[in-house]
C-alpha cells in the first residue's frame, strides 16, 4: 500500500499522478473465508479492518450488494457525539469517539474528523431538565458535556436566534466539545483501503441471497449473486436491509425500516462553526468542509425501502431551521436524498450474537449509526472473533426485548439519536 502523505502527493504530482495504485483491489469471491461481513458500509468495513488488525483474522470478505459506503454511510449528516444518557449508551458511543480520535493517522487516510462541538438546544423546562440529567450523567461517566446559557450558546454559534419571543425560545444548551463531524465517504474508503492492505477482500456488486445452515443449525456460508461462499462466521451489518438478510437465516427481528431524508445547501464561506441539534423543533445542522449547510430531516411515518422521502418532511425541517437560524432563509437547498434507517423498539442498536450459531448482527442504529462507526466495527469484530460480546456491547443484545431491559434513550429524555 502506497503510504499517503504530502510527500507522496508531491512526488506523484511530477509523474502526473499516473502511478497511484488502487486504494483497494476489486476482489472476486474466494470459495471460503474465516469470516464474512455482509454489508460494505462504514460499520462492516470497520469490522473487517479490526478483525484483521486487532484479532488476527485476515481471511475476511466484505460482501456489498452495491458499492461500498453507498448506503447510510454515504447518506447521513456525519454527526459524531457520545453525550448519551444511559451508562450503556455513553460507554458504547464514547468507545467510538475515542477511536475516531486519531483514526486518520491510524488508517493513513484523512477522514476529516472535525471536533467542532455538538450543541443540543433546550427550548422548554422539560428540555432543560432532561439535558441537565444528561450533563450530570455524562460528567460522572467521564464524557464531556457542559451547560451553556443562551448567551453562551449564541457566542458559540452566532447564527443562533436566542430571542425570548421565538416560538421555541432557546433556554440553554448542552455542548459536547469533542463532538463534531467527519467526511463520510472517506471513512468507508479509509477502512476499505486499510483492511484490503491486510488481506481483506472487498467484494462489491455481490448481494447475499441466502444463508446456508448446517444440520446443527450453525452457519456454513452464504449464497450470493456471485456464487456460494463458505464461512462459519457471518456478521451482518446491513442497516435498513437487516430484516431481509436475517429472514434468510429464518430469524424475524424487532426492526422496522423507515425513510430518512437529509439535505444540503449551496456551498458558502464559513458561517456555521459547530453542530446544532434541536429535538423539540426537530432540526439539526452543521457546515461541511466544502461549505454546504448539512441538514438532517425527520423520518417518514411508514416502512419503506424506496429511499424516496416526502416533500412535507423537508418543508417542516426547513421551517424549523429558519426559526432557529433566521439568517439562512435566503439560502438555497441544493440536494436532498433519502436513506433507510432500521429502528428497534427502544431506538438503541442490536450488536452481538444471534440465536443462530456463527451468525452475528450489528443493526438498529436508527438515525444515529454514523457516529458509532469505529466502535460498532470494533465491537462486531470482537464479538465475531471471541464468539462472545464485549462488555460494552453485551447490554445491546437481542434478549432485552424479551426480558424488558430496554435502553430507551428516547423515552428517557425525548432525545433523538
Amino acid at each position: 500500500m502506497t503510504r499517503f502523505s504530502a510527500l507522496s502527493l508531491f512526488t506523484k504530482a511530477f509523474g502526473g499522478h499516473q502511478n497511484w495504485p488502487e486504494q483497494w483491489p476489486d476482489a472476486a469471491p474466494k470459495p471460503a473465508y474465516d469470516a464474512i461481513i455482509v454489508g460494505g458500509g462504514g460499520h462492516g468495513l470497520g469490522a473487517a479492518y479490526y478483525l484483521a488488525k486487532k484479532y488476527g483474522i485476515n481471511n475476511v470478505a466484505v460482501l456489498e450488494k452495491g458499492w461500498i459506503g453507498g448506503g447510510n454511510t454515504g447518506r447521513n449528516t456525519t454527526i459524531i457525539r457520545s453525550n448519551y444518557l444511559y451508562d450503556e449508551s455513553a460507554h458504547l458511543y464514547d468507545h467510538a469517539v475515542k477511536l475516531w480520535d486519531g483514526l486518520s493517522q491510524e488508517l493513513n487516510y484523512n477522514i476529516m474528523y472535525s471536533k467542532r462541538g455538538v450543541m443540543m438546544l433546550a427550548h422548554n423546562v422539560h428540555d432543560v431538565q432532561s439535558l441537565q440529567r444528561h450533563i450530570n450523567a455524562n460528567r460522572l461517566n467521564g464524557v464531556d458535556n457542559e451547560w451553556l446559557t443562551p448567551e453562551q450558546a449564541k457566542a458559540y454559534c452566532p447564527p443562533l436566534n436566542i430571542s425570548p419571543d421565538a416560538r421555541h425560545p432557546v433556554l440553554g444548551a448542552a455542548l459536547q466539545r469533542r463532538g463534531g463531524t467527519a467526511r463520510h465517504d472517506s471513512v468507508a474508503w479509509g477502512y476499505a483501503r486499510a483492511a484490503a492492505a491486510m488481506g481483506v477482500d472487498i467484494i462489491q456488486n455481490c448481494a447475499v441471497t441466502g444463508i446456508r445452515r448446517g444440520a446443527n443449525g450453525a452457519v456454513e456460508g452464504v449464497e450470493t449473486t456471485r456464487g456460494y461462499i463458505a464461512s462459519k462466521r457471518v456478521g451482518v451489518s446491513a442497516a435498513g436491509n437487516t430484516s431481509v438478510v436475517m429472514q434468510m437465516a429464518g430469524l424475524d427481528f424487532p426492526l422496522e425500516s423507515y425513510p430518512l431524508q437529509a439535505l444540503v445547501s449551496e456551498p458558502i464561506k464559513p458561517t456555521f462553526p459547530c453542530v446544532v441539534m434541536s429535538n423539540t423543533v426537530h432540526a439539526y445542522m452543521s457546515q461541511s468542509d466544502k461549505g454546504e449547510l448539512v441538514i438532517g430531516a425527520g423520518t417518514d411515518q411508514y416502512v419503506s425501502y424506496s429511499q424516496r422521502g416526502a416533500l412535507h418532511i423537508v418543508e417542516h425541517t426547513l421551517a424549523a431551521i429558519c426559526e432557529i437560524f433566521p439568517i439562512y432563509r435566503r439560502m438555497r437547498m441544493l440536494r436532498t436524498w433519502g436513506g433507510i434507517v432500521d429502528v428497534t423498539p427502544d431506538r438503541s442498536p442490536i450488536l452481538g450474537k444471534t440465536p443462530v450459531k456463527g451468525l452475528y448482527v450489528n443493526c438498529g442504529w436508527g438515525t444515529g449509526g454514523f457516529k458509532a462507526t469505529p466502535g460498532a466495527g470494533d465491537l462486531l469484530a470482537y464479538t465475531m472473533a471471541k464468539d462472545e460480546p464485549h462488555s460494552i456491547n453485551a447490554p445491546f443484545n437481542l434478549d432485552r426485548f424479551r426480558n424488558g431491559r430496554f435502553i430507551d434513550e428516547a423515552a428517557a429524555a425525548a432525545v433523538a439519536h
Binding site: N241, S243, E256, L311
Partner: protein, 90 residues
C-alpha cells in the same frame, strides 16, 4: 405525500390526514397471562419489515377517524389495496 385510499370514506386522501399504525394483523393475544415471554415478545416487538409486499395499518385520523388495513409495496411505496379493520388478510 402519498395518496391513501380510505376504505371507509372510499376515496383517496392525502397522507397528512393519516397516521401510520404499524404492521397489520398482529392480534393482541386473548390470554396474555398464558403467553410465554417469547410469544409476548413476538407480539410486542417482532416485525416482518418486508422488502416488498407489506401489510400495515393506517388511521384516517384527520378524516373519518377509522383504523384500517393496507397492502403496500415497500420498494415502490405503491398501495395494492386497502380494506376495513376486521376484514380478512388480503
Amino acid at each position: 405525500m402519498i395518496l391513501i385510499h380510505c376504505p371507509y370514506c372510499d376515496e383517496k386522501r392525502p397522507e397528512i390526514e393519516f397516521a401510520n399504525a404499524g404492521q397489520a394483523h398482529i392480534a393482541r393475544p386473548l390470554d396474555p397471562a398464558g403467553q410465554s415471554d417469547a410469544d409476548w415478545e413476538a407480539y410486542l416487538f417482532i416485525r416482518a419489515n418486508p422488502r416488498g409486499r407489506h401489510h400495515e395499518r393506517w388511521r384516517h385520523v384527520h378524516g373519518c377517524g377509522r383504523f384500517f388495513n393496507a397492502v403496500r409495496d415497500t420498494v415502490t411505496d405503491k398501495f395494492e389495496t386497502t380494506y376495513k379493520a376486521g376484514e380478512p388478510r388480503r
